[in-house]
């Protein structure tokens, strides 16, 4: 198998003046053999040329071969499903007969305009997205700032903030369902100790969104904090020193040195969190326990991901579900474009 090691020992040194070096190999083939003193028979020259041709081919194509597995897998599990979903979105197709497709044009998309459940899900996704992303990133920034101080046992704290991220959605959501329970929930028990009435978290429009957001915030804050921390540690120390010399307080240092230096990182976390929020699925699904994908009695916490799932796998309408999936994809493209615009403006303003 290993051709290179078997070849090099028996290729005679006299054959080629500097065999093994790719540069000389290439130059040898590019300059006509007649220009150079010909030490060998024509057959040896031909063999050499053939070898160098192979070598060049190897040099040229091997890198593609090395990255090919990713692209093959991406094509099979990323690109093909994406395109096929787009194709299915243009058809009326049911899970009971997935091969039996009936052309529907853009109807699956246009019907979304008048679909109250879709707009409700879009609104819920947006509200839960804001309720979870904003506090999550602010808290992560604060946490990272604290972790950046010289702390006793800093490693412990850094690992500790990451543990929620390592917890499975199912386990975390199950615990939060118990915490936010109406009759025996811990949150309501705490409220009752200060004399407040219990809240029916799952059934309220805002309370349910808040509860779902809490799960997201709990899971992702530590992850973002570590990303911020890494970026903070890359900020040159002399920036802080000169700021301190100019008489800047700790807060001013944070505000005028740390935050501007973190700008690209903050933008990155914003993009990732927004994508995560748009695709939010596991938390709201499991928050309703075994009650399916309706997202509450009034669909009060049904996100786009959940609505897609309900149409595809509960109601068995694959065409409609595909159209929702593609709409989500387009929404993400718009968000990405807006992010790119903001990023460019930030860069020019700097």
């Amino acid at each position: 198998m290993d051709g290179r090691t078997t070849r090099s020992p028996d290729s005679p040194a006299t054959d080629t003046p500097a065999s093994g070096s790719p540069v000389s190999d290439r130059s040898a083939s590019e300059t006509p053999a007649s220009d150079r003193p010909a030490p060998d028979s024509p057959a040896a020259v031909r063999a050499r040329e053939r070898r160098s041709r192979r070598y060049r081919r190897d040099l040229r194509w091997s890198p593609y071969l090395f990255i090919a597995p990713f692209f093959l897998f991406f094509a099979a599990f990323g690109l093909f499903p994406l395109l096929y979903t787009g194709w299915a979105a243009l058809h009326r197709v049911e899970l009971t007969a997935p091969t039996d497709m009936e052309w529907a044009g853009l109807r699956n998309f246009t019907r979304l305009l008048g679909d109250d459940f879709f707009w409700n899900a879009l609104g819920n996704t947006f509200v839960i997205g804001v309720l979870s992303t904003v506090p999550q990133l602010l808290m992560a920034l604060g946490l990272a700032h604290l972790l950046n101080y010289r702390l006793r046992g800093s490693m412990f704290f850094r690992v500790a903030v990451l543990t929620p991220y390592a917890t499975s959605v199912a386990a975390a959501t199950l615990v939060f369902v118990l915490l936010f329970g109406r009759d025996y929930g811990l949150v309501n028990w705490l409220l009752s100790t200060v004399g407040a009435d219990g809240v029916d978290w799952e059934n309220g429009s805002w309370t349910s969104k808040l509860a779902v957001s809490t799960i997201v915030v709990w899971r992702w804050t530590g992850y973002n904090a570590l990303i911020y921390l890494a970026a903070m540690q890359a900020i040159p120390h002399d920036l802080y020193e000169s700021a301190a010399l100019d008489g800047a307080s700790r807060w001013q240092q944070f505000r005028y040195v740390t935050i501007p230096s973190l700008r690209p990182t903050i933008l990155f976390t914003c993009v990732v969190s927004t994508i995560g929020a748009t695709q939010l699925f596991g938390e709201p699904l499991l928050f309703s326990g075994s009650a399916g994908a309706s997202g509450g009695a009034d669909h009060q916490y049904q996100t786009l991901g959940l609505y897609l799932y309900e149409q595809g796998w509960v109601n068995l309408h694959l065409g409609r579900a595909s159209a929702i999936a593609w709409t989500m994809f387009l929404i993400l493209l718009v968000i990405a474009a807006v992010n790119a615009l903001i990023a460019r403006r930030l860069r020019t303003s700097q």
Partner: protein
């Protein structure tokens, strides 16, 4: 020249390796489609046939030792079971597997809520079991047999269990509210009429111990009433009629009376809070098929010992039950059909009732002592065999339709729940349910 030869050889080695690798991969995929098939078709002498059984949740065949018993009877057969916990995940996968004809087990379970859809849309992909050796139509309750038989007389599924419903009630709470506690006296309170059941609820609620409710949920009431009606969401011609169906209206009104009359603990079944309410003894009655007895026992725990009992429901209904189907794409269709017939035969169903409380759909099993003499110690030694057999005989011949589950789920989890838990009016709840159903059924 030497280089050329070496080069060719190297290429040949690489090519061989690639081919070998590819073949190994293909072989890995194809392995289970070739080898056992060849063995199976050449008969027992060539070796063992492996039959796979795909189920959702716990069917109990393994636990009750039925697979072992069958393998002992047929030494050339090995049975393997795969289970997906929830039918919501199991059923879509079954449909995709049926449509591609791959990934199927030799026997696939189908839940009663899906059987009408499977019978209507997948009959061509399933084996007609009415002609399988060992199957006796007369053994089964007629409506159970009919549910898995399509218009042209093809039976695609054999009934496993059914869910005749009774009412499980708390004797201690009934006593505190001044109601009778003896199961016959309790059954007499509401015999024949769900309205009487709610009247008893009113009486209970007037004198109920603090923090307790008559029934767990309004959707539980809805389910119990609709399950005891012959016609539900479809008429006999297969038209969707739920909006004007008198039995839906009756079930809906009963649920609304329970919700607005504050007779419910405002719970949703199979949620964590429902389990907690069992443990804390928060409600006095729940409609219970036999398969729920184990659940009640587990969730109520030691606190509920000797407090629960079982009484006959106002009207007998059916909740749950399954079928076994044999896909045409299977490799051992005849062996699988034999196993399905054996598993659903009266003797095995009776055994499963003893071990798993899955009530037999084979009427012939009701006379067997394992069923007729069955008592449940946790429920005050209630003669559950007799109670549920009587209920089973009274279950109406239900009209099923392909989208029963969708309609039912939206009525209970959207409509009834909005009234029961969110305090909306019955009109708002009904409108929300209809909107949800219209959206869910629109292809």
């Amino acid at each position: 020249m030497r280089t050329t030869i070496r080069g060719t050889r190297r290429r040949a080695v690489a090519l061989t390796a690639a081919v070998a690798l590819g073949a190994a991969l293909l072989g890995g995929c194809a392995e289970d489609s070739d080898a056992p098939g060849a063995k199976g078709s050449s008969g027992a002498a060539a070796g063992k046939t492996t039959l796979t059984v795909g189920v959702f949740g716990v069917f109990g065949y393994k636990q009750a030792g039925l697979y072992d018993a069958y393998m002992k009877l047929h030494p050339d057969i090995t049975i393997k079971e795969t289970s997906i916990e929830r039918n919501e995940n199991y059923y879509p996968q079954l449909l995709t597997h049926l449509s591609t004809g791959s990934g199927l087990a030799d026997i696939q379970a189908v839940e009663v809520n899906n059987i009408a859809e499977v019978t209507a849309t997948q009959a061509g992909k399933l084996v007609d079991l009415s002609k399988a050796p060992g199957v006796r139509k007369a053994d089964f309750i007629p409506w159970k047999w009919a549910q898995a038989t399509n218009a042209s007389g093809k039976t695609v599924g054999l009934g496993t269990d059914i869910g005749p419903m009774a009412i499980c009630y708390r004797k201690d709470l009934f006593a505190k509210a001044g109601l009778p506690t003896d199961r016959d006296a309790v059954a007499k309170l509401w015999a024949g009429d769900w309205g009487k059941y709610l009247d008893v609820g009113k009486r209970f609620q007037d004198k109920a111990p603090a923090g307790t409710s008559f029934v767990d949920s309004a959707s539980g009431v809805y389910n119990a009433v609709i399950s005891s009606s012959a016609e539900r969401y479809y008429d006999r011609e297969g038209k969707l009629v739920y909006k004007d169906s008198p039995s839906v209206r009756q079930a809906w009104d009963a649920a609304m009376r329970a919700a607005t009359g504050r007779l419910t603990a405002r719970l949703q079944q199979f949620q964590k809070s429902w389990d907690q309410a069992y443990a804390n003894g928060r409600f006095a009655t729940v409609s219970c098929p036999p398969w729920m007895l184990g659940y009640i026992k587990e969730k109520s725990g030691d606190n509920g010992r000797d407090k629960w009992d079982v009484a006959a429901a106002p009207k007998p209904g059916n909740w749950g039950g399954s079928f076994l189907a044999v896909p045409e794409a299977g490799r051992h269709k005849s062996e699988a059909a034999k196993l399905a017939a054996w598993l659903t035969a009266p003797e095995q169903q009776a055994k499963l009732f003893t071990k798993q409380a899955s009530f037999p759909s084979a009427r012939a099993a009701y006379g067997l002592p394992a069923v007729s003499g069955a008592k449940h110690p946790y429920f005050g030694d209630a003669p559950i065999g007799k109670i549920f057999a009587a209920a089973a005989e009274g279950i109406p011949d239900q009209v099923l339709g392909p989208k029963d589950l969708t309609v039912n789920q939206n009525i209970t989890d959207v409509g009834v729940l909005q009234v029961d838990q969110q305090g909306k009016t019955p009109e708002q709840g009904w409108r929300a349910a209809v909107e949800s159903i219209d959206n869910a059924l629109d292809q």
